[in-house]
């Protein structure tokens, strides 16, 4: 595990030194501005709308940061050829993948924590209402979901040639699952065989990242999701993350690096 943590540290240090986190401050400023205007409108419907907009911004920003960061990890190592002195040491390719995964996941978790913190502080100070547990639960569920996205992106970065194609494809796939995933079973019912079977298969195969989306509950103050359900969702995410990491390892382990 020592090697994996050493690699994780390098990923985080690179993001910090490359000033990638500075984008974070711009996004945070946008969220702060939007959230800060909540009290200005007075009308509860508009307040809810503004909060919904902020949460959407948090989701899109976190997804973009996660996908863009994970997509370039292994291709950049190969392109700059830093992978050679690294793999010439007693490091397995599996450890490289795990190190990259944890580095990206921790970095996206940190970025997400900053987003939620600003959102909570600004809206809380304006509305004099502090649903800390709700925010914490929303944050944890979204971070767990980002684990699946990170693993999927790492797999994409091995399969597709360029990081830009990985980013585009992954963003479309994840956005597609978020918006359409939950409706696929209904769509299947309205179609004849064999299309119905195909749509059902897709419905059962894809990771349902929309399960981790509790934005509506936070915006409308509907209260907490049962923590047991959250635990089950975490297990579901862990299974998919492990599956994608396994596929990444299978694709990477015999790949020639010359």
């Amino acid at each position: 595990m020592n090697t994996v943590w050493a690699l994780t540290g390098i990923v985080i240090k690179e993001l910090y030194r490359r000033k990638d986190f500075y984008v974070l401050f711009v996004l945070t400023a946008l969220i702060t501005l939007a959230a800060g205007s909540v009290e200005f409108f007075k009308d509860p419907n508009i307040v809810r709308y503004v909060k919904d907009l902020c949460m959407l911004l948090i989701w899109v920003s976190a997804l973009l940061i996660t996908i863009a960061t994970a997509a370039r990890q292994i291709p950049a190592e190969r392109e700059s050829r830093t992978i050679f002195p690294l793999l010439a040491k007693p490091v397995t390719r599996g450890q490289v993948i795990l190190g990259k995964f944890f580095g990206c996941w921790l970095a996206s978790g940190t970025a997400l924590a900053v987003f939620y913190l600003f959102f909570a502080v600004i809206t809380g100070s304006r509305e004099q209402h502090w649903p800390v547990l709700d925010y914490l639960q929303a944050y944890l569920l979204q971070w767990i979901m980002l684990g699946i996205v990170t693993a999927m992106t790492l797999l994409g970065s091995i399969v597709f040639a360029a990081p830009s194609s990985t980013v585009t494809i992954l963003f479309i796939v994840v956005a597609g699952i978020l918006f359409l995933g939950r409706h696929l079973n209904t769509v299947a019912l309205h179609n004849p065989e064999p299309l119905r079977g195909i749509i059902y298969t897709v419905y059962f195969i894809i990771p349902h990242v929309e399960l981790f989306d509790v934005r509506e509950r936070v915006v409308n103050d509907w209260g907490l999701v049962n923590w047991l359900d959250c635990g089950l969702a975490a297990l579901y995410a862990a299974a998919y993350t492990a599956l994608f990491l396994l596929l990444t390892w299978l694709a990477f382990r015999r790949k020639s690096l010359n």
């Binding site: 390098i10 240090k13 010439a88």
Partner: protein
Amino acid sequence: MDAILQTEDLCVEYRTRGLKAEFKPALQELNLSVHAGEVFGFLGPNGAGKTTTINVLLGFIPPTRGTAYLFGIDVRQPIARQRIGYLPEMTYYYKFLTVEELLRFYAKIFKLPSADAERRIDYLLKLVELEPVRKRLIKTYSKGMQQRVGIAQALINNPDLLVLDEPTSGLDPLGRMKVREIIQRLKNDGKTVFFSSHELGEVETVCDRVAIINQGELKTLGRVDELVARHGANLEKVFLDIVGYQSQPAL
């Protein structure tokens, strides 16, 4: 004597691109043995298969057939690389780190205890004369300095076998002298050095034995002094004879 580095009938084939994919041999039944304490030169013209051999030894590419061992362990197992140091031809390091951070990272990979790692880092930075710039990012270093970072990282685990891929390529005479001194020092310390090079004068000076390959085939293997005596010429002439070089007639 036990071989520290050994290849047995090692073959590597590359698949050509295009509709009619063919297999092009890069290495053909290569048999090599490098023993403890010797400096072994691995020579050949461009495209002869030197880097391919090193790539197999370091696990970057799998052999098509045959096997390779480091310290008696199959090179496909990462533990085979626990006691080796590798200096690539070009400087491939994380340029957003300082040299100190880079060495600390590699020390962690080798699981060196923290105190030992710090002592080793101090020693290596003095050895490669990077002590005054240890806190500067690698991206701000000159090419010669970056090559010295490479030497330091290759020695972080105090390796028993050092694999050098054209270590003096692109260096100025001072840089070359420094690398040669380090190889000599390692040899005096009883370490084994395996290096590929185009600098035949340098090879003749520091190597005990050499192997010459051409088009993936091992052409000759032996002690430098014996090869030179057998051909009655210096190593450059021996090399040119073996790879079949014929000078162009005068215009």
